[in-house]
Amino acid sequence: LAKTTQPISMDSYEGQEVNITCSHNNIATNDYITWYQQFPSQGPRFIIQGYKTKVTNEVASLFIPADRKSSTLSLPRVSLSDTAVYYCLVGDHSGSARQLTFGSGTQLTVLP
């Protein structure tokens, strides 16, 4: 499983766009990139997943450059309720177990 590196913490203000970048230099051909959000005392929640270029859903956008060695989660117009830990994970669809390895994540704090 590819190792990921992301900032430990970030601060932002309400209404701003937040971009969290994750490095995954040893990403493999079959690997997908997935982001999760976790609030205190809750399980992580799936946000978005992508393989290359750009993916957008109702919550966020995921930008992946051509070399796929990094990815950026973009949260538009954050609110106080977006304060959470955000995890970047990289994994492939080979094998039956497909266990996830979580890093330390990025603590995003949205300020009023």
Binding site: T34, P44, Q99, L100, F102
Partner: protein, 115 residues
């Protein structure tokens, strides 16, 4: 729709006592099941995963064990709890039949405090 149930939500146990945490999944069959632990202020650590009934893989040697007596039931146990077993325990599942690598679904977690 698929749902995952995990209980209890909180638990305070004395050192040396046994532990049993249960996780069940509804609305799917033959899922992959996982147990994670999260220490305070830390990331998630994979403890066990299972690809089928009776099939358990351990990621980290520890004071804990896991069992899967039924297709959609996953149990985390300990015979004698240690202080270091305190943490937030999360169960997760995913479909094995997916052709691409999609997201996992996590339960609401159990906060275990060993005193």
């Amino acid at each position: 729709s698929q749902t995952i149930h995990q209980w209890p939500a909180t638990l305070v146990q004395p050192v040396g006592s046994p532990l049993s945490l249960e996780c069940t999944v509804e609305g799917t069959s033959n899922p992959n099941l996982y147990w994670y632990r999260q220490a305070a202020g830390r990331g998630l650590q994979l403890l066990f995963y299972s690809v089928g009934i009776g099939q358990i893989s351990s990621e980290v040697p520890q004071n804990l064990s896991a069992s899967r007596p039924q297709d959609r039931q996953f149990i985390l146990s300990s015979k004698k709890l240690l202080l270091s077993d305190s943490g937030f325990y999360l169960c997760a599942w995913r479909n094995r039949g997916d052709l691409y690598w999609d997201g996992y679904t996590f339960g609401s977690g159990t906060r275990l405090t060993v005193v």
